[in-house]
C-alpha cells in the first residue's frame, strides 16, 4: 500500500485491523471488542470502500496531546489518521479523478461519494486505545429505532464535502479519559448545539470534573470519575446536572425516553455483572431476558442479579428502540408509550457507538461485554444505577412531575371509557416527552388533524421555549395533547393548555371539570387545572 496523504482500499475487517495497527503504532494483532463491533456494523451497513486520510489533525486529540502526551519521553505522534467509509466501490484512480476535476459520464462524483458516506473513524497514534472521534451513520430506523440526539456532522476530504447524521463516539485512552469522560464527551456533543455551549475535549472534561475536588486520587493519569465529578464538568458548560435513580425498568424507560425524545442525551452509570450463563428469550414476545438462574426476586418488586462483579461503567444513552408492547403500570393499568422501549442504544466506549442494550423488564440491561473470566459475549449484564440528565438551566420541571399529574386524570378517563361514556375503542396510551416550542409549532403547522382558526390560534400563542407534552392516543389516533410549562416553578400552575383532537373526550373532560364534587376531590392538583382549562 503506498504511503501518502490518501489511500483507497477495499473494505474488509482484516484491512481495517491492519490500518488500525499501522496508524496507532500497534505492532501486535489488534484484539478489541470494538473491532468485533466495527466488523458487524460495516458488514450490516454494506461498506465497500475505505479512504484513508493521513496525516489528519484532530482537535480533541491535539488537546489531549498538548496536555499530556507531549510531555512523555516517548515521542508520541501529534497527527492522527482518519478513515472514511463508503457503501460504493471505487478505486484510487476514480478518487483521483474527482480531485483532478475529471467530469466524464462514468467518472465518480462527489455527490455519489456523499450519498454513500457512512462516516469516519479517527485513529489516534496511541497503542492500545486508538479509536478517536468517530461519527458513523445510525442503523436504519425501520420505524422502531430512534436516535433523536444525532446532528449533522460535516467532514471535508480534500475539498469534498461529506456529511453524516451522528452522535460522536470515542474510546477512553485510559490516561486523560476513562469511560465517564468519554461518555460525557459524547453527551456534551449532543447538548452543545442544542443549548449553545462550548465543546470540551476529553482532557478538558477530566480537568473540569476534578477542579477543586477533594478526591485524594491523582487526576492525570485518570483512574475514573464519580457522579459528583461528572456533575461538576456538566456545570462547567453552564448546564445543570439532574440525577434520577433508575432502580426499575419503568423508571428507566420512561425517564430515558422522555428526555431523549427532547433531543437530550443521558449518562447512565451501570454495574457490570458476569452471570456466567447466556441470555434467555421470551418465547412469545422474543424479548431478551437475564437468565432466571441469576435473578433473585427481593419480594418488594425489586430484583437483584448474581454473578461476578466486574466494576462500574458509564455509557451515554443516545437512542431507543420501540419494539415492544406497552406494559400497563402495576396499580392503575396506566399505559405509557415509553414502556414499548425494549432496547437502548448507548455509546459504550468499550463496545462501540449505538451499542444495543436490551431492557429486561426486571430492570437489567444486556451488554456486549465479555466476561472477565469466561471471555464470552452475552453473559455480562448491567445493573443501572443513576441516570444523569445534562439540562439547560431553564428546564426546571422534571419528567416525573408531569407523569404524576397525568396519572389520576387517565384513571378517571379510563373509568368513563370502560363504563361506555366516552366512545373510545381502546385505553388511552400516553406519550410523555420534552419538546421545544419551535418543534411543537412546526408539527402543528404541518398537522392535518388541526385546521383553520384553531390551528392559527395555537400557532400564534406565546409559549415557553421548553414544554412537557403528554399526548394521548387511542390506537394510532391522537385524542388530546396536554402541554405543560417545563420552565415553571415547582409549585406553579404548570399546565398551559390542551390541543383537542376528539370532541367526545373533550366533552367528557368539560363535564368533569364543571362538577363541583369532582372538583372538590381534585382541588389543588394539576388534574383539576387541566379539567378547568376545558371550561
Amino acid at each position: 500500500m503506498p504511503d501518502g496523504p490518501f489511500q483507497v482500499v477495499n473494505w474488509s475487517i482484516e484491512e481495517l485491523v491492519s490500518l488500525f495497527a499501522k496508524f496507532s503504532g500497534t505492532t501486535l494483532q489488534v484484539e478489541k471488542d470494538q473491532i468485533d463491533y466495527f466488523d458487524e456494523y460495516f458488514e450490516e451497513s454494506c461498506c465497500l470502500t475505505i479512504v484513508v486520510e493521513h496525516p489528519y489533525v484532530d482537535h480533541d486529540y491535539l488537546d489531549d496531546y498538548a496536555a499530556y502526551y507531549a510531555k512523555c519521553f516517548h515521542p508520541y505522534d501529534r497527527f492522527c489518521a482518519r478513515l472514511h467509509f463508503f457503501t460504493c466501490t471505487f478505486t484510487e484512480d476514480d478518487f483521483v479523478s474527482i480531485l483532478r476535476g475529471v467530469t466524464t459520464d462514468s467518472a465518480l462524483s462527489a455527490a455519489e461519494l456523499n450519498s454513500s458516506y457512512l462516516g469516519f473513524v479517527v485513529v489516534k497514534p496511541l497503542p492500545g486505545s486508538f479509536i478517536g472521534r468517530t461519527c458513523l451513520r445510525t442503523y436504519p430506523s425501520e420505524n422502531r429505532r430512534f436516535y433523536p440526539t444525532t446532528r449533522n456532522y460535516e467532514s471535508h476530504l480534500f475539498g469534498i464535502s461529506l456529511s453524516v447524521e451522528a452522535v460522536p463516539f470515542q474510546e477512553q485512552d485510559s490516561t486523560v479519559a476513562m469511560c465517564a469522560t468519554s461518555a460525557l464527551w459524547s453527551a456534551l456533543h449532543g447538548t452543545g448545539k442544542l443549548f449553545q455551549h462550548s465543546l470540551l475535549s476529553p482532557v478538558e472534561i477530566t480537568k473540569a470534573a476534578t477542579l477543586n475536588s477533594d478526591d485524594p486520587m491523582r487526576f492525570l493519569p485518570n483512574v475514573g470519575l464519580t457522579d459528583e465529578q461528572i456533575a461538576r464538568a456538566i456545570r462547567s458548560v453552564s448546564l445543570e446536572p439532574y440525577f434520577v435513580a433508575v432502580h426499575n425498568s419503568y423508571v428507566l424507560r420512561s425517564t430515558v425516553y422522555a428526555y431523549l425524545k427532547g433531543h437530550i442525551p443521558l449518562l447512565l452509570d451501570i454495574d457490570l455483572v458476569d452471570v456466567n450463563a447466556t441470555e434467555e428469550r421470551n418465547a412469545t414476545s422474543g424479548a431478551i431476558r437475564a437468565p432466571a438462574s441469576a435473578v433473585n426476586d427481593q419480594g418488594d418488586g425489586r430484583f437483584t442479579i448474581s454473578g461476578n462483579a466486574m466494576g462500574s461503567h458509564e455509557v451515554a444513552v443516545v437512542g431507543y428502540c420501540l419494539g415492544g408492547q406497552p406494559e400497563p403500570l402495576q396499580e392503575s393499568g396506566f399505559l405509557l408509550t415509553a414502556t414499548r422501549v425494549d432496547k437502548l442504544y448507548a455509546h459504550d466506549d468499550q463496545i462501540g457507538p449505538y451499542a444495543r442494550m436490551a431492557v429486561d423488564s426486571r430492570g437489567f440491561l444486556s451488554t456486549s461485554w465479555r466476561g472477565d473470566t469466561s471471555m464470552q459475549q452475552g453473559t455480562v449484564w448491567a445493573i443501572p444505577g443513576n441516570l444523569l440528565v445534562p439540562l439547560y438551566n431553564k428546564i426546571r420541571i422534571p419528567f416525573e412531575k408531569v407523569h404524576d399529574a397525568v396519572l389520576p386524570l387517565d384513571s378517571v378517563l379510563e373509568e368513563l371509557r370502560s363504563d361506555g361514556a366516552i366512545p373510545l375503542s381502546e385505553r388511552l396510551e400516553w406519550d410523555i416527552f420534552l419538546i421545544a416550542s419551535n418543534d411543537l409549532k412546526d408539527e402543528i403547522l404541518h398537522a392535518a388533524e388541526i385546521k383553520g382558526k384553531y390551528k392559527q390560534s395555537i400557532l400564534s400563542r406565546p409559549m415557553p421555549r421548553f414544554l412537557w407534552r403528554a399526548l394521548a392516543r387511542c390506537g394510532t389516533e391522537k385524542v388530546v395533547d396536554l402541554l405543560f410549562d417545563a420552565t415553571d416553578i415547582d409549585k406553579g400552575r404548570l399546565f398551559l393548555f390542551a390541543i383537542e383532537y376528539n370532541t367526545q373526550l373533550s366533552a367528557a373532560m368539560r363535564e368533569l371539570g364543571a362538577d363541583n364534587e369532582v372538583r372538590h376531590e381534585l382541588l389543588g392538583t394539576t388534574a383539576d387545572v387541566i379539567l378547568q382549562s376545558f371550561q
Binding site: 476513562m178 469511560c179 465517564a180 483512574v223 475514573g224 464519580t226 457522579d227 459528583e228 461528572i230 440525577f243 434520577v244 435513580a245 433508575v246 432502580h247 426499575n248 419503568y250 423508571v251 425517564t255 452509570d269 457490570l272 418488586g301 466494576g311 462500574s312 461503567h313 458509564e314 403500570l329 402495576q330 396499580e331 392503575s332 396506566f334 444505577g385 443513576n386 416525573e400 407523569h403 404524576d404 396519572l407 389520576p408 384513571s411 378517571v412 373509568e415 368513563l416 363504563d419 361506555g420 361514556a421 366516552i422 366512545p423 370532541t503 367526545q504 366533552a507 367528557a508 368539560r510 363535564e511 368533569l512 362538577d515 364534587e517 369532582v518 372538590h520 376531590e521 381534585l522 392538583t525
Partner: protein, 57 residues
C-alpha cells in the same frame, strides 16, 4: 348518530357517571395514584453515597 348527537350522548353518560359514582371513584383513584407516586418516587430516589462511587471500567 351525528357528531352533535354523539357528543350530547357523551355529555349525558358522563353526567350519569358523575352522579352515580363520580366522587367516590375519584377519591379512590387519587388514593391509588398517590400510592403509585410514592412507589415510583422511592425507585427514583438517588442515594447520596452512590454519587461518590468511582466509575472506572
Amino acid at each position: 348518530m351525528t357528531a352533535i348527537a354523539e357528543t350530547e350522548d357523551t355529555v349525558q353518560k358522563t353526567r350519569a357517571w358523575i352522579k352515580s359514582k363520580g366522587r367516590s371513584r375519584v377519591v379512590c383513584i387519587r388514593k391509588t395514584a398517590k400510592a403509585t407516586e410514592a412507589r415510583l418516587a422511592k425507585a427514583r430516589l438517588v442515594d447520596p453515597k452512590s454519587l461518590k462511587k468511582p466509575i472506572s471500567r
